[in-house]
């Protein structure tokens, strides 16, 4: 279920047709603009991201469900800021040091992280991984001493193997539960029993992958993806620039 959202889905939407470089540049620009954004504009950005996901034929509810543990993490961020930032007390309770400034700071930080995650999800949902890889390669190419092809391949493999590693960890967890790991009280011990075999399997998989890539002639001279910017891409860039100005300019 999670893998279905965190991955490319072929749909006939204009967002799918956009140049991958435009989408990656937009993600970077929106992430930077969100650093200057206030609560209202962050809320606007979240609504815009959910709207664009729906426009790309990806259910916003399904996205939020897939991000449930991320949302829990954001809640922890808000709580941590709420309870540790000094300022005007929110409640008249001595043992609860929550401040108004802490709440605002926590909501802003969580809002920024949510905006970045939702726009990131939008990109992985609407862009072929091979195009993401090619655009990373395109952006890295002018930087000297950076092996852009290897870096782009690593990003591509990372995207490909996250679901595989997640599946392996679920399988390992099931196998350990079948042998009564739940009876172990020490959580560190339990974690060790999952982590060590998972790392071993991951390294073995990486080794096999390297052989398989070598067998298929992986090397420095690969076919380079050709990008073509269209009027739609330029229009999208204009819209993103306006949106970033709004995000950074408004409170």
């Amino acid at each position: 279920m999670v893998a279905l959202v965190f991955g490319y889905n072929e749909k006939p939407s204009p967002l799918h047709a956009l140049d991958a470089r435009v989408k990656l540049a937009a993600l970077v620009a929106i992430s930077l603009a969100s650093l200057k954004a206030g609560l209202f504009t962050l809320a606007l950005a979240v609504v815009a991201a959910l709207g664009l996901l729906a426009f790309a034929r990806c259910s916003p509810v399904r996205c939020l469900a897939a991000l449930k543990w991320y949302l829990v993490l954001l809640l922890c961020v808000v709580l941590a800021r709420l309870l540790t930032t000094p300022g005007e007390p929110l409640f008249d309770v001595v043992w609860l040091p929550a401040s108004r400034q802490g709440l605002l700071a926590g909501l802003e930080l969580a809002g920024r992280l949510l905006v970045i995650a939702l726009f990131g999800l939008l990109i992985t949902f609407t862009t072929r991984p091979s195009h993401i890889r090619a655009s990373v390669e395109w952006f890295l190419r002018p930087i000297p001493f950076v092996p852009h092809q290897q870096a782009a391949t690593m990003i591509g493999l990372l995207v490909r193997f996250i679901p595989v590693i997640l599946n392996q960890s679920v399988e390992l967890g099931d196998a350990l539960r079948a042998r009564a790991i739940d009876h172990r009280r020490n959580p560190l011990r339990r974690m060790t029993y999952v982590t060590m075999p998972l790392l071993r399997r991951t390294f073995v998989t990486a080794d096999r992958l390297a052989s398989a890539m070598e067998a298929r002639c992986y090397g420095a001279q690969r076919t380079v993806h050709r990008f073509h910017l269209t009027a739609r891409d330029w229009s999208a860039m204009g819209l993103v620039a306006c949106f970033c100005l709004l995000l950074a300019g408004c409170p």
């Binding site: 893998a3 279905l4 991955g7 490319y8 889905n9 072929e10 072929r128 991984p129 091979s130 591509g156 493999l157 995207v159 490909r160 679901p163 595989v164 599946n167 998989t205 096999r208 992958l209 052989s211 398989a212 890539m213 070598e214 067998a215 298929r216 002639c217 992986y218 090397g219 001279q221 690969r222 076919t223 993806h225 050709r226």
Partner: protein, 249 residues
């Protein structure tokens, strides 16, 4: 005409054990060879020598007349290798991306890649799934994708390491059907198995390895009776005195 020529091939593992000892073998173009043996007999090691993933400690391996050590890329373009574990062989995030990985490595023009990948996916029946995520495919479909990834590079020989491992009956039939079709189309096939039951009916030659040496080599009907003496189970039909039946019937 021989497409694979192996002479006095010897291989040692990193711990010093001998993996292959004095292998002499030739495989003719367009043939269907089954390479069998118990676990640890050296089958997978031999296959890796055909693709240049391993190089001989002694002896020579020549693919279409060119030494593997002299030009490993030529060996990899000529001999496509399908690994046992399809999951760790698939590198693309979509079916199309994975099948295109090999041709992109060969630096082919985009139009040729598109044409070759489309043909390879159609051949293994995955043409309608080009945008699906590979890890959502069934075991049989993953194995077929691994075959398509190799086919897209248009090799002359395809070697398959345990292609039926972990597949259900339907998955075995699908993969076997594609292997047989490829052979009919003129591709040289080398299938490495430890269970002869599923594939022997289609093979023209059976080679059995034991402890890194070739101990049986011949036409299946003539040599299959010797299989059990070397750690490979005979097909049930042979035990009953009958000819081996195809799983495709």
């Amino acid at each position: 005409m021989n497409i694979i020529e192996i002479s006095s091939l010897t291989h040692f593992y990193s711990d010093g054990r001998a993996g292959l000892q004095g292998i002499d073998l030739t495989i003719t173009r367009g043939s269907f060879v089954v390479l069998a043996g118990a676990n640890g007999a050296g089958k997978s090691t031999l296959l890796k020598h055909l693709n240049g993933l391993l190089l001989p400690a002694a002896g020579t391996v020549r693919i279409a007349g060119v030494g593997v050590g002299e030009d490993p890329i030529h060996a990899r373009r000529t001999v496509g290798m399908v690994f046992q574990d399809a999951d760790s062989q698939i590198v693309g995030e979509t079916v199309y991306d994975d099948a295109a990985f090999g041709p992109e490595n060969l630096n082919w023009p985009a139009a040729r890649i598109e044409e070759s990948v489309a043909a390879a996916l159609a051949l293994v029946g995955l043409g309608a799934m080009r945008d699906r995520s590979p890890h959502l495919l069934s075991g049989g479909e993953k194995r077929r994708l691994a075959i398509a990834g190799v086919l897209a590079m248009q090799p002359e020989v395809i070697v398959l390491d345990e292609p039926f491992a972990n597949l259900d009956y339907d998955g075995v039939r699908q993969v076997l059907g594609h292997i047989v079709d490829l052979h009919r189309g003129g591709t040289t096939i080398v299938v490495c198995v430890h269970d002869l039951e599923k594939v022997l009916a289609h093979a023209e030659r059976l080679i059995i390895l034991q402890a890194g040496r070739i101990v049986v080599d011949g036409v299946p009907a003539q040599v299959v009776l010797a299989a059990e003496a070397h750690g490979v189970r005979m097909p049930a039909a042979v035990r009953l005195g009958r000819a081996v039946e195809s799983w495709l019937r």
